[in-house]
Subunit: 357 residues, 3 copies
């Protein structure tokens, strides 16, 4: 009565610095993928929703929303990288060098940049770079991330789950040399609404007024849509044993996306591109039924590029959180010795390319 | 520690009679939009679901469901018209002059027809006409509606949220002169099921047997899909303060659509078009978990056009409601002095174009 | 105050052996249909999700997932066959002879193979064969099923709900002579992940580790998407009266699909086709909030064809169920005199076409 029970992901000793894992998912993105994304994230950036506007800006169609690409890349990597992870620790240097479109077939691969055992010996930090590309080799998203992984080797990992290391030519490319926005992108001269790049001033704080309550079905659907295979997000019986909250936890990539889109009507009605994200973390978790709110602080304005610190809080308005915590709301949670903000669910630095007046 | 907290919509003194507001949303409709619509509304009208049947009837593809167009137009206007509204009061003269298709990029604009302060001085009624059109200027939906709005001016409305009044040429057109069905539409001679136009007789009452329980995630997804930005529908913390029920309220355009589609298998299996809706209201609200039922009364049969009074009730069958209330079920709720039907959630007059035997 | 309350489906005396019912639904499948399917079923079979891989295997695009086709065929038939059914008893000889694609407009029809009254006189078993075909007459799915139906004739069934019996030429074809996989399908030589056909050995048992909690909204959306009109799945007030559990019951075709896809990462990463299903049943029901787990036992390996017995259990892991019940977990539940496994929700024999090493 023995049975085979395969598990995926890796424990700390399963990672090899320098190795590249080809993730198994291969998915043709269609209009339904976009519609489901739009049906949960009320994003107000017109270039991502209007083929007419996108074409007037030099693109060949509505591009896939960059945060959809981030979610696809992150989720595809779970099977090989983080399905056994205790926690996602950091988003680093997220870029969207080229535009993806409906009809693209996307794949992802990850290279291990570092493995650092903790002094406690029972866990460690894995640092990977992941890229998502389409069938023509266009890189739609590249990012680094760190995850906290238990020590050891995964006994139940079947031989066939070990993705072949990519061939030499298929290594993750050096994204440092990539353009920060799609080459064809230009200001189409009209369309959009709300503030221009030169309406922003460093130091401005926006407490975005409207929140979003997370439905159980909608977060599970989005998790499956992007092929995130971590059972923490959709397997209640697993969670009763393995989750701190004893409940399903909303996948962090979605939390980030909800918070970014809650800010979009105030900030991104004239955005042309999400240039990049950096220094991001999820200080606290989110469960179905929680209501998310967003706040943004302008860090820098550099021509068409405006850099914000974006923060998400749960179950209270961002105006309330800002009134209580002041500018500490925008400070890195994980480097704080005291005064941690327990309602903060995401913090990240983001740069938008915006039209100028 | 001051922050910017933008709010959208308008208070009574923000409206100017004759002004036209271009709503910011610009959305390319795709197959996913249709699939999500079909995944909540089990509509039985074949011309809206079958490209083969639609082409045999002179259209170039499956048309966008007229009630999807109504929901897009209504929702796009929330940002400028009703995001601060207390209540939606009336649907008036809803028309669907031209067919929209997958791939259309749609926008909407509204003209203020009237502003009428209430004698109490603290609120008033705003009357607007809204049209939804595609990038070729085809009008997919035109309607008037009335909303109850608080007095005053909206302090937090940012300068950039004031949509530019449309240029002269872009005023909402006089839809009175528009055709009531798409010009190309004709009876394709086959397809469909159920009753023909000449099977109906004035005075017939249909208590549609099957109900639909509303899921929290599904109504929130549909609300975001059509870009309805009123937090009453998806922001639980807002609702704890601002909603009479202290809960999220299902967006009325969806309630209307559920009730219409619950009637569709009995009435619309041979329908070719939704000619128009009129004299509609939502006497009571709906929350997630409620079960909706529909009843229809035939008001008139005029060749291929059959006019019904459509009523939706919640948490009891329409047969039960009709047995208790009789024909009063089909009488205007808001004009009743007494005997209001507290389970009635929508009432509207609708005309269908149906095939004849 | 009389009203018309139409009901659909049939009671036992409404069925005529040999009759063929053309089901009214006619639906153009789009990318959104696929996306919604993928958003609930985290299926790992790459040929169903990647146009690139599917084309390398001789198909003209991503094929519609065979289990989506089964769900469409089953659901379309509910209107005429099982909307009054007490229970779905058996899946028999399910085949997927040709591949369907996005853009196909699908219809279904059913032929009554047998009607067998029970000795109790109050009910009986109806046996039908159903096929789903596209507008070019390609048969995407063919299956037989048995349902338990109450005795009598359905009084409220309107004349217009009686689908015209199909013309002679439109009888359900003899699927015995059909190919078991699409003719054009061939091993594309690369792609996919996990075990090959010749990695399996008869007798192997897989207890798939990860489960899936069913959301209320998501199962209702999928039910409407495939046009399943049985109110047991989405009408809470109906269920309070007519459901044993007093709750909405998840449509069985979805339960089967969740369980099959929970097995997919371990078994079907190199699958090219779902050759067929047989001897299937749902011994117990599933409600929203239940968590499903899957187990598979290899019954036979015949070249590229591997036959499994697939079992689904609820609210406990399949490893736990196998540890308790041993091989009895894979034995037919309905033929057991004692020791029935109350957590088993589906059992079926399935054959996959898999790549060989």
């Amino acid at each position: 009565m023995s049975s085979i029970e395969s598990r995926y992901g890796r424990l700390l000793s399963d990672f090899e610095v320098g190795a590249t894992y080809e993730h198994p998912w291969e998915v043709t993105v269609d209009g339904g993928t976009l519609a489901l994304f739009q049906a949960s994230f009320l994003d107000a950036t017109p270039i991502y929703s209007s083929a007419v506007l996108a074409k007037s800006c030099g693109l060949s169609d509505r591009p896939l929303h960059p945060l959809l690409c981030l979610n696809l890349g992150l989720s595809f990597s779970v099977h090989d990288v983080s399905e056994q992870a205790i926690a996602h620790l950091a988003y680093i240097d997220v870029r969207f060098p080229e535009a993806g479109y409906v009809g693209d077939t996307v794949r992802a691969r990850s290279t291990v940049l570092g493995v650092k055992p903790a002094s406690s010996g029972d866990k460690g930090v894995v640092h990977v770079r992941t890229i998502l590309e389409n069938e023509r080799g266009a890189v739609l998203c590249a990012f680094e991330r760190k995850a906290l992984i238990r020590a050891g080797k995964l006994a139940e990992r079947p031989q066939w789950a070990l993705s072949t290391a990519a061939a030499e030519g298929a290594k993750t490319p050096d994204v440092q040399s990539f353009p920060s926005v799609p080459k064809a992108l230009r200001d189409g001269g009209k369309g959009g609404f709300g503030p221009y790049a030169n309406d922003f001033e460093p130091g401005q704080v926006f407490t975005h007024a409207i929140g979003k309550t997370i439905g159980e079905s909608e977060h599970m659907q989005l998790t499956a849509l992007v092929r995130n295979s971590h059972p923490l997000h959709f397997d209640h019986d697993y969670c009763k044993v393995h989750s701190f909250t004893k409940q399903r936890v909303v996948y962090g990539g979605l939390v980030l996306t909800w918070v970014a889109t809650l800010a979009s009507r105030d900030l991104a009605g004239r955005a042309l591109w999400e240039v990049g994200l950096d220094a991001g973390a999820h200080p606290n978790g989110v469960i179905g039924g929680d209501t998310l709110y967003a706040a943004s602080k302008v860090l820098a304005v550099d021509g068409e590029k405006v850099t914000f610190r974006l923060v998400g809080v749960k179950n209270r308005t961002s105006a309330g959180a800002y009134a209580e915590h002041g500018d500490a709301l925008f400070e890195d949670e994980l480097s704080k010795k005291e005064g941690r903000i327990k309602e903060k669910v995401v913090e990240i630095t983001r740069t938008l390319l915006l039209r100028r007046k």
